[in-house]
């Protein structure tokens, strides 16, 4: 004799503490076990790809801020790289280094946020999140110091960056990267050996290397699955080939590995920033480009290793002042391709932890 419970539909979101935005999961559940999961997105869809077709290339940079609002610098950078590739613009070396510094600072900020919210989803009542906010806050202060904005920075320009950092920027960033290793050690102490976290995250949401590759998973999730793939090494842009850093690779592909990979990447980012600051060349921070930039008809795909994965920009020009097609390869969205594989058969808390470990940003999913 068995007692069969009837499955029911649970709507997680659009307003839910752990969907990190307006994002909805329709979950068919049998008790606490998930039978089917379907995501409903589009609550934040602003049709940026269409809007971009009516703006000049430079006017489009602010749009890229507002896709992934936790990693605006990386988005700026990817877009500018695409347009530079399309129009054949050379970027001075100082600008390359500055771009690296800010992209890595952004990665630090974004990974802090990702790890903090992940642990929050695992149930720690906001404490790790607040700790990681503390560091993120300082990084945002640095952004504000340099370009006046904290979140939607709009800092990179086609051909360079918009401003040279002010003189007080350098001691501040020195102080920050001086104390960051200490801070990361603090997180390690607080979280890494926490048996509750291990019990919650190990073996949860496992993706094998083959599945992750086939499912177009990129970024820390792919690396956590054991694939040593990092665009900063594989397809170096800016000046990444000049820096010495390593790719952290997880072993089980579970949520815990994703957390650990992000933590290790923060350490590596500190290393890169240190090297970039030491080797920062003098010179111009920007190539002057014609305001009326009309690239020749053609197409360009440029990608950067964003905090969430491969952040690609596909820009097609028809010779006009605005891109004929502007497509963003959004890692947040594509990393969710295998959500069903991670969640079905798991229990609800596991699915929430798996979702938290994919580190989605709804602005980027919906664009």
């Amino acid at each position: 004799m068995t007692t069969a419970a009837e499955p029911y539909v649970l709507n997680i979101g659009p307003q839910h503490p752990s969907t990190h935005g307006v994002f909805r999961l329709r979950v068919v559940m049998d008790g606490e076990r998930i039978q089917d999961i379907d995501m409903v997105v589009g609550y934040l869809h602003r049709s940026m790809e269409k809007l971009a077709e009516e703006r000049t290339y430079t006017q489009n940079i602010p749009f890229t801020d507002r896709t992934d609002y936790l990693a605006a610098m990386s988005n700026n950078l990817g877009y500018c790289l695409a347009v530079e590739r399309l129009a054949g613009v050379e970027v001075p070396e100082r600008a390359q280094f500055l771009r690296v510094i800010f992209a890595e600072l952004q990665r630090l900020a974004s990974h802090s946020m990702a790890n903090g919210t992940f642990i929050n989803d695992a149930g720690a009542w906001q404490t790790p999140l607040m700790y990681m906010f503390r560091e993120r806050e300082k990084i945002l202060d640095l952004f504000e110091m340099t370009c006046g904005a904290r979140l939607t920075t709009n800092y990179m320009r086609i051909g360079g960056v918009s401003f040279d950092p002010p003189p007080e920027f350098y001691p501040a960033v020195e102080a920050l990267i001086g104390e960051l290793p200490e801070r990361i050690a603090e997180y390690t102490e607080l979280l890494v050996d926490n048996e509750i976290l291990i019990a919650r995250a190990r073996g949860v949401g496992v993706l094998s290397a083959a599945d992750a590759i086939n499912g177009s998973i990129t970024g820390p999730m792919l690396r956590a699955s054991g694939v040593p793939w990092d665009l900063r090494k594989a397809d170096p842009y800016c000046a990444y080939e000049k820096f010495d850093f390593e790719i952290p690779v997880g072993q089980n592909g579970d949520c815990y590995d994703r957390f650990m990979v992000r933590l290790e990447e923060m350490r590596q980012s500190v290393r890169i920033i240190r090297q970039a600051l030491d080797g920062l060349p003098s010179g111009s921070h920007k190539t002057e480009i014609p305001l009326a930039l009309r690239p020749a008809p053609g197409e360009a795909y440029a990608r950067v290793e964003g905090p969430r994965g491969e952040l690609g920009f596909y820009v097609v020009s028809d010779g006009g002042p605005a891109p004929a097609r502007f497509h963003i390869r959004a890692p947040s969205l594509i990393n969710l391709s295998l959500l069903r594989q991670m969640a079905v058969g798991a229990s609800l808390p596991d699915a929430i932890v798996a979702l938290g470990s994919t580190d989605i940003v709804v602005g980027e999913i919906d664009r």
Binding site: M1, T2, T3, A4, E6
Partner: protein, 170 residues
């Protein structure tokens, strides 16, 4: 010390117990019935308090109002394909008959058994510190065998229930 307070308490609690028992089968909603059943249990516990049977009163609350009521709620929730109300049932006449039979039986016992009263004299003079010690020594002394038999019976029921609901491993 049969003061008026005890009398008031007895009638209030008896009224509570009887009234909620009536509501248990008068109300149409099964979960409402469970709530009233809990109230009846609490009334019974109160009656035990008026008899200075503190251990029994507390056990009544712990086991009936705390545990059995959850069991009832689960039974209501887990019964598939049953509407959650006290609908018409084929067994209503039979139920009435059985209920009346039980009432008659309990009435018979209550009136016919010569209840032995405690005749030991003043309790406080004998350093009587509550019913716990008395019941405990009775259960593990004179009545150890029935006590153990009851627990074995419950254990058998538990194992049987698990065996029934266990899914096939193959």
């Amino acid at each position: 010390m049969t003061s008026i307070g005890i009398a008031i308490g007895f009638y209030a609690l008896a009224g509570l117990a009887i009234g909620s028992s009536l509501l248990v089968f008068l109300t149409r909603n099964l979960l409402h019935a469970v709530i009233f059943a809990i109230l009846a249990f609490i009334g019974m516990a109160g009656l035990f308090v008026t008899l200075s049977a503190d251990f029994l009163a507390v056990s009544q609350i712990m086991i009936y109002a705390g545990a059995i009521s959850v069991l009832l709620v689960f039974a209501v929730m887990l019964t598939p394909y049953a509407s959650r109300d006290n609908g018409n049932s084929l067994f209503a006449p039979a139920g009435v008959l059985v209920g009346l039979g039980f009432a008659a039986l309990i009435g018979f016992i209550a009136t016919q058994v010569a209840w032995p009263a405690f005749t030991g004299g003043d309790l406080e003079a004998q350093n009587f510190t509550g019913t716990v010690r008395t019941i405990g020594s009775a259960l593990l002394g004179d009545y150890a065998l029935p006590f153990e038999l009851a627990s074995v019976l419950l254990l058998a029921a538990l194992v049987g229930a698990i065996a029934l609901v266990r899914e096939d491993e193959r």
